[in-house]
Amino acid sequence: MGYKIIVGDKTYKFSSLVDLMARATPLRSADQLAGIAASTQSERVAAQMCLADLSLKVFLEEEMISAKNDEVTRLIQKQFDAEAFKKISHHTVGSFREWLLSYSTLTNDLISIKWALTPEMVAAVSKIMRNQDLIAVAQKCEVITKFRNTLGLKGHIGVRLQPNHPTDDWKGIAVSILDGLVLGAGDAVIGINPASDNPKNVDTLLKLIDELRIKLEIPTQSCILTHVTTQIELMKKGSPLDLVFQSIAGTEATNKTFGINLAMIKEAHEMALDLKRGTIGSNVMYFETGQGSALSAGGHHGVDAQTCETRAYAVAREFSPLLVNTVVGFIGPEYLYDGKQIIRAGLEDHFCGKLLGIPMGCDVCYTNHAEADQNDMDVLLTLLGVAGCSYIMGVPGADDIMLNYQSTSFHDALYLRSTLGLKPAPEFLFWLEKMKIMDKNLQITKKNLNLLEHMNYEL
């Protein structure tokens, strides 16, 4: 079905919902690479105007990716709550934006419609929102999850401690973990991207973190970010696995290139629940996503990168994750060219994830071949702090020596905490104060190296 809009003396036509959504998307190199972006800036804004006039019901009538060929579309249809949708069914995309932003729409209103929203509706409204809109609405959302601590509370931000090492050398990883802990990081998770996914190696790393966590009585959880099949194998063998990780995408075809499907994630989810390792909650999954992955894998079906990304959140929310984050600038300049595009995408992903009810964090990051630097990251980091982002990454000195990209550092998290007054997870903050690492003002104390003495870490 086609769409058109007349603006002034010009008529703009769009061949389908897929075409309209792509052309309404704020500029990014991924959609240009796919050959689906608006050809002029005027066409882009005209598409946004056309999209603003569409009823939300259109998204229930016109499939962007056919359910016949895609299990993610089928999942989205299964999740849809028709009863809850009645509350918002009268809206166009444009009036829905205004409803989201109105003073009278509060946290509980947003929670009450999360299953009435499909990812495509959420992606659509995000396309006609400017950056401050994405921040203002996301700030109203609250998604609380628990395992050994409580994440996502308003006024809090978590940090994933990411102590990667290029050869998974356990001493190298251990000292990076200690560095993060004495700088107050690690409440979201201590999560390692292993260089090798060989099961014995992954098991060794799991045991390393587990021993450290138990010895220091740290109220947090661990994760080794390897393929879900490896983690299933390790759970069967009794490895101390807290959270199951998997990279996910918004189409079946893309997930297939990741070597996964929904059944596989379900199996891992149930196994991890059975382990009952969480002390105060049972959110046991950790997912990562990122715009451009579907295009990169040739699994996008002509749909724009941001809509594909938002569909991945339907996959995520099916499994009640503890953590989900977009790895926004990791993929490279062919998908998000520069700081401006990375910042926009980070805000979109955070907003869309929160509205769909997932505990959205963000790996605020860039690669050396993108037109971006630490200043761009400071901007996105600060905006996400204001927007109420669930957690960010903490990498020693912001330099990941295994994955070869720049993320945010332990120091960046401290900056956010002290300038915006954002606290770590309450249980973790209690531990930080007990260990004399952080004081009441969320500042690192001068006594913080006591942890090293306490550990007397023999390497």
Partner: protein
């Protein structure tokens, strides 16, 4: 008591100290300088006259220049027409073989510094394992993406395709090399069908011999089980126990 004694265990930027929440000045400027150097390094071209200890054949992707390479990964995955002609003119090989392809990828420094010594180890290990090299030569393709091996495989039909490629440069690792293995590379495969050995750079990453050891393990297993990718795990450590 400080972090100094721990710094030997990792190149990660630990024990930097802090002023308020911020980095000390020298740590910040040091980071900034290394980022600047990495940005500059991306632009360095690859000298294809480089000797690598085995005859070479130069092929080209559809990429126009370095900027085009960064923005158009689709072009970097496709062999250009004249290169396809070259491959079609080569004799067909019906027996088991390993195809060796190398590209600068995102880091010319990686191939300049590590390709020759790594290949020396790998070729010696392949010889020991009695696994022949497809056409007794390596194919050098500047500005290629990993998936380009499928275009070459489509024509030469090797049992295993090995792509040796420069990885995206990190601040502390501007010259890291990676190896991707694909069982019977051909059109239509994806990254889930490949195995990767990354961070090949002695001193701080994998040594040449460790990387070659892993590669030989994966090549043998791939030939034996007729698969590569997520269902083929790197269990080379078991051989050491």
């Amino acid at each position: 008591m400080s972090f100094d004694k721990y710094k030997a265990y990792t190149q990660a930027r630990i024990g930097l100290g802090h002023s308020g929440a911020a980095l000390p000045t020298s740590a910040w400027l040091d980071f900034s300088y290394q980022h600047a150097a990495a940005v500059d390094a991306i632009k360095v071209p690859w000298d294809l006259e480089q000797k690598i200890g085995i005859p070479t054949q130069i092929l080209n992707s559809n990429v126009r220049d370095r900027e085009d390479y960064l923005l158009r990964p689709d072009k970097g995955r496709r062999l250009n027409d004249s290169s396809k002609q070259i491959l079609h003119s080569l004799p067909k090989i019906e027996t088991e073989s390993v195809l060796i392809v190398a590209s600068n990828g995102l880091s010319s420094f990686a191939v300049i510094n590590h390709l020759e010594p790594f290949l020396t180890e790998l070729l010696a290990d392949l010889k020991k394992a009695n696994i022949p090299i497809s056409h007794d030569q390596a194919f050098l393709v500047p500005n290629a993406r990993v998936g380009l091996i499928d275009d070459i495989g489509e024509i030469l039909r090797p049992t295993i395709g090995v792509m040796i490629i420069g990885e995206r440069p990190g601040l502390s690792s501007p010259d890291s090399l990676a190896v991707y293995l694909t069982y019977k590379p051909k059109k239509g495969l994806s990254d889930a069908d490949r195995n990767c050995i990354s961070n090949i750079r002695p001193l701080h990453g994998l040594s040449y011999s460790e990387a070659s050891f892993k590669a030989i393990f994966l090549i043998r297993e791939s030939i034996r089980r007729k698969i590569s990718g997520v269902n083929l795990k790197d269990e080379s450590h078991l051989l050491l126990e």
